[in-house]
Symmetry: C3
Subunit: 215 residues, 3 copies
């Protein structure tokens, strides 16, 4: 019996969830950073190579999420409400899905991002994921409630920024001379990126509702 | 200690939820009426000015919804199942979000609503919100169950009307000579308005499931 | 008192749910098969006549789902967690809604499905529904857990296939010469069909989470 197994044996089973959520959050931070880095890359073939690596991230994320659901099924006692674990895991999983969905379309569609909307979205998304990461890590000891609340408020405000970015970009596109087909492609990608920030907001709302209950 | 505080002190804490849901419902009724009024306005700059006021309504709605979630976190005892409060608050909040989302796009895109689809949607939405308002107010004493059920049936039937309106409008647009870009704009707005009625249906379904449990 | 009533009287009330879920699953199998059959039909007016019959299926499905929610409200004891019943019923209902939504648009839009995307989607959907049917029937006695798990894994893999089919079709369409309006129509239908497989995955995930808890 190795040290790990001994540790696991003595570890209260319900504390497993903190570690798993921290793993998902860390993996999302990596995704956000990779996505941002790719979109700052000027060489398009290098950019696409980086974007393609996000598929592995997304698979890894799927696996951790799956483990959360298995633990949820097997543990009668959980550190916070069962439905909050379910909602949080689902929202974090959706963040990864939509980032990969947008990345795939950026590679496939080869749009002309003339207003630099993509790097602007990537920055909002990175900041939003960083704030979620902070709030998820703070869940473990619940000491710094103010930090959690501030992180959640930030995620909400970043979602508004993404909304405004989508609106202003669409207005520019509608009054530009691009073809309808090009417009369909760009709208598709930008909407997916805006949805990433919606899912970040969902995650932040769950975290906020957890700390309200336990404070 | 003012009268309000005294009242709040004696008020069973769980009854707070009725008041909050009634506030959301009343605010939605106002939104629905303002939206209808705007779309009957022939002067477009007046119309847009009215539509822009919906942003404040949406913010107010957000705040009440936030208070519901805070109360939900702090109250161990709730008048109906915790998840029903969560679902109902979310559905009502979504109604406000999608109305404002559509209003913003109507102002921004300046579409040519040649088949008068917008006022037709506004009428369906107003009726649907009125029925939800009836059902939410009836939750407090649970006396008139028939009225609640009838209101929920009406919301479901109005959702079907919105679905048919979307279908028939899209068919007309597809066989018209409008440009693809104009078609994209109109489809975007009409789909958001149809989603408003989906969210109304979600809210009505929650109310119905509550009265089934307590009757 | 007929034999049925006697049976119902002695039947533990919570077992009612198995029968209702089996009814929904069987009705979905019929929908999937009818949809596939229609899309293999070369005579378009015959095809449309078959597709139109799906509306009745969808109504029937609605009614069974409604009965599940009524039972859920009236039964204090349920065979598995109340929220799992809620999630499963909702996911199964969404499958029917999106199939009918797509069928209606196929009839209305008369698209030129030049890459045979529709029959390919219909096949994926039929297989996915068949796997869900297997897993729902196996819930009743929970004996063959391996069969349930395999069915759920299959549904997940079929969802990936649908995703890939949507991606590759969109790529072909974007590099084809079809008009933007035709592209909008086709994208609308194919996305709805991909959503059908998302809803199948949601249903499979609920079934999987149920067997984890009870095994």
């Amino acid at each position: 019996m190795g040290f790990d197994s001994v540790l696991k044996f003595f570890l209260p089973k319900d504390r497993v969830f903190y570690g798993l959520f921290e793993e998902v959050a860390a993996s999302l931070v990596q995704m956000g950073n990779t996505f941002s880095k790719a979109l700052r890359e000027e060489d398009l073939s290098k950019r696409d190579a980086i974007l393609r690596t996000l598929e592995d991230h997304e698979h890894k994320n799927d696996e951790i999420t799956h483990r959360i659901f298995i633990e949820l099924g097997q543990n009668f006692i959980t550190p916070f409400d069962r439905e909050d674990i379910h909602y949080l895991a689902t929202a974090l999983d959706d963040i990864a899905d939509y980032i990969w969905g947008a990345a795939k379309r950026i590679v496939n569609y080869q749009i002309d991002d003339q207003y630099n909307t993509l790097p602007a979205f990537a920055e909002i998304i990175s900041k939003s994921i960083a704030a979620i990461n902070t709030s998820v890590y703070a869940l473990r000891d619940m000491k710094d409630l103010r930090a959690i609340t501030e992180a959640c408020v930030l995620v909400n405000s970043l979602e508004n920024d993404a909304d405004d970015l989508l609106d202003s970009t669409m207005l520019k596109l509608f009054s530009s001379n691009i073809s309808a087909v090009e417009l369909i492609k760009q709208k598709d990608i930008y909407q997916m990126l805006e949805t990433v920030t919606d899912k970040c907001e969902d995650a932040a709302n769950v975290v906020e509702s957890i700390i309200i209950k336990y404070s």
